[in-house]
């Protein structure tokens, strides 16, 4: 049984479908990368796993299980016991994700106290240990710092420390390095992967950095306008993409434009609330779109291990099937 399994999850805000019938699973100790443009629904789907979607958003799913426990049917209190301990999440902007009124030490110890407990001394020792694990030098002095006294990279390390405090089985990292300097990005990713390997956590890494996903993820999911358009092992998806969107994503990387005058990009923009096509969501922009594509929404072809949502998936040459 997978660590996390979602089936046909949708999140709607009024008339707007932010997440449209997606299904995926995460195994124990696996790194799953979720890539997509801004507005593709990657963050919203993770927030719904954590139970952090508020009014007016609504979460519907056929199945949402963690470690064989049904998250949807679970009473509020029980779910809260899982949140922050077995399932943890770190967010994009560490500078605003820490409460400015409390010290770093207080916020780490709070995470520990909520789920574990122990004497003041024990908690303090554990906090120092966590800060060491995330690579913060002189941790004893850092405990009394306030968030505004820390740099971006340091804050994100503290966030990571808070999230691993209770040894989570699954860690969701929502664009953990987007707000950081390029030099710090690599350090933070190395730290995350290192921790993941040591603790055998499931890691869901949400990002729009394709190169990163190709490097660290076991499996990858590509999202577009709230739908999953392709999923599979990272090596396969990036070497032989089956969905035109994935192909276009890879083609738009600067590396693919060596020797050319312009970067390749699909014309048009991601559909928003007011211009969602009837059929395939990519059809206005897809170079291979047919009338059938424009009228009928494609079904998911393949199984959860290698899936693509297209009428005419690309073959190994990169051309659509007949």
């Amino acid at each position: 049984m997978s660590l996390l399994q979602l089936e046909n999850l949708s999140v709607t805000f009024g008339n707007f479908r932010a997440v449209d019938n997606i299904s995926y699973k995460v195994e124990e100790g696996e790194v799953l990368g979720i890539v997509g443009e801004s507005g593709s629904g990657k963050s919203v789907s993770s927030l719904s796993i954590m139970g952090l979607i508020d009014f007016p958003g609504k979460v519907n799913a056929e199945q949402l299980t963690f470690d064989n426990q049904d998250l949807l049917a679970m009473p509020e209190k029980q779910r809260r016991r899982l949140t922050g301990s077995d399932i943890a999440m770190i967010f994009q902007d560490p500078m605003t994700s820490l409460n400015p009124c409390f010290t770093v030490g207080y916020q780490i110890i709070e995470a520990l106290k909520t789920h574990q407990g122990g004497s003041k001394k024990e908690l303090k020792a554990r906090a120092i240990e966590l800060l060491t694990q995330v690579g913060i030098p002189a941790p004893e002095s850092r405990l009394d710092n306030y968030p505004h006294q820390l740099s971006g990279g340091m804050s994100q390390r503290v966030m990571i420390a808070i999230s691993i405090a209770c040894n989570p089985r699954l860690l969701i990292a929502d664009e953990p390095t987007t707000a950081l300097d390029v030099t710090i990005q690599a350090q933070i990713i190395d730290l995350l992967i290192d921790l993941q390997r040591k603790k055998q956590m499931g890691l869901v890494l949400i990002t729009h950095d394709l190169a990163l996903v190709a490097e660290v993820a076991h499996r990858v999911i590509v999202m577009y306008a709230g739908q999953i358009v392709e999923s599979g092992p990272a090596s396969e998806v990036f070497s032989t993409p089956k969905h035109p969107y994935t192909q276009a994503l890879l083609a738009s990387l600067p590396e693919s434009a060596a020797g050319k005058a312009r970067l390749e990009a699909l014309p048009g923009v991601v559909p928003g609330q007011y211009d969602r096509p009837l059929g395939c969501l990519l059809s206005p922009r897809c170079p291979y779109a047919t009338d059938h594509c424009r009228k009928v929404e494609p079904a998911n072809q393949g199984d959860l291990n290698r899936q693509v949502k297209c009428h005419t998936p690309l073959d190994s040459e990169g051309r659509p099937a007949a």
Partner: protein
Amino acid sequence: MFQFIFRRLSLVIPTFIGITLLTFTLIRLIPGDPIDVMAGERGVSAERHAELSAQLGFDKPLYIQYFRYVTGVLQGDLGNSLVTKEPVMSEFLTLFPATIELATCAAIFAILIGLPAGIFAAVKRGTIVDHSVMTFSLTGYSMPIFWWALLLMLVFSVNLGWTPVSGRIDVTYWIDDVTGFMLIDTFLSDEEGAFGSAVSHLILPSIVLGTIPMAVIARMTRSSMLEVLSEDYIRTARAKGIAPWRVIVIHALRNALIPVITVIGLQVGILLSGAILTETVFAWPGIGKWLIESIGRRDYPVVQGGILIVACIIIVVNLLVDITYGIVNPRIRHSR
């Protein structure tokens, strides 16, 4: 932190000078000769006029008059009342405790009701609780204070007889004036039932005076809470699995209260101007009633002195509010 305090303090001085200029010019704007004004209907002979002129310095150039005025103010000399001939400052000090007592009780009422109401409305956003709190607070500050006072008096004092109509205490009691605060003085005295009488006299005026601040505090708390609740660090706290009430009371409230403190401090001005109207209706012997009566009696030194003192109080309170804000806001607290 100290730089912040120092900068705030240095702003007080020009404001103070401005206020003294304002009160100085206001009185000089009264049409007519100041000595004739002071003499009133009786009028004054030409030589007495010249005598008084020299005595009061009206024959000197304006800037010297202003200088003498300011030095007098700094020493606490605000002139004498035209009606009672007593120094304005001592009259003020006699009557001030009554107003402070009223204002303090009103402020306590406003905070005790307004703060929780605002928090509740924010947490239960969009529900009937939210709408009722907002409606009540909107009605609260749309009301003319003096009418609210009359209405409450009509219902509770006249029709139901639950509360007294005016004054600070039943006339049957004679209380020694130890502190000037009726609640404390009655507590210290041996008279039976005096304390209860003092309390019952305070109820309606406090509610009336505190209604507008309560409404403002409720609204401000609600909007501040709503803003804080949408911040990233609240999302982090919830992602940690912390119980909802803890998220609200410990994480959100601390941050939400920071602007609310400023608002509470600014209510002092509203309380003082509301006191003028409330004291008039309830015949409460405080400085509000004193100022209004003095205006009616053309007692200009009192008016001038009263306005100056009230303005200075507000400046000091604003300064304290700013400093408290600096202490409470960790970003400013830790800056140099």
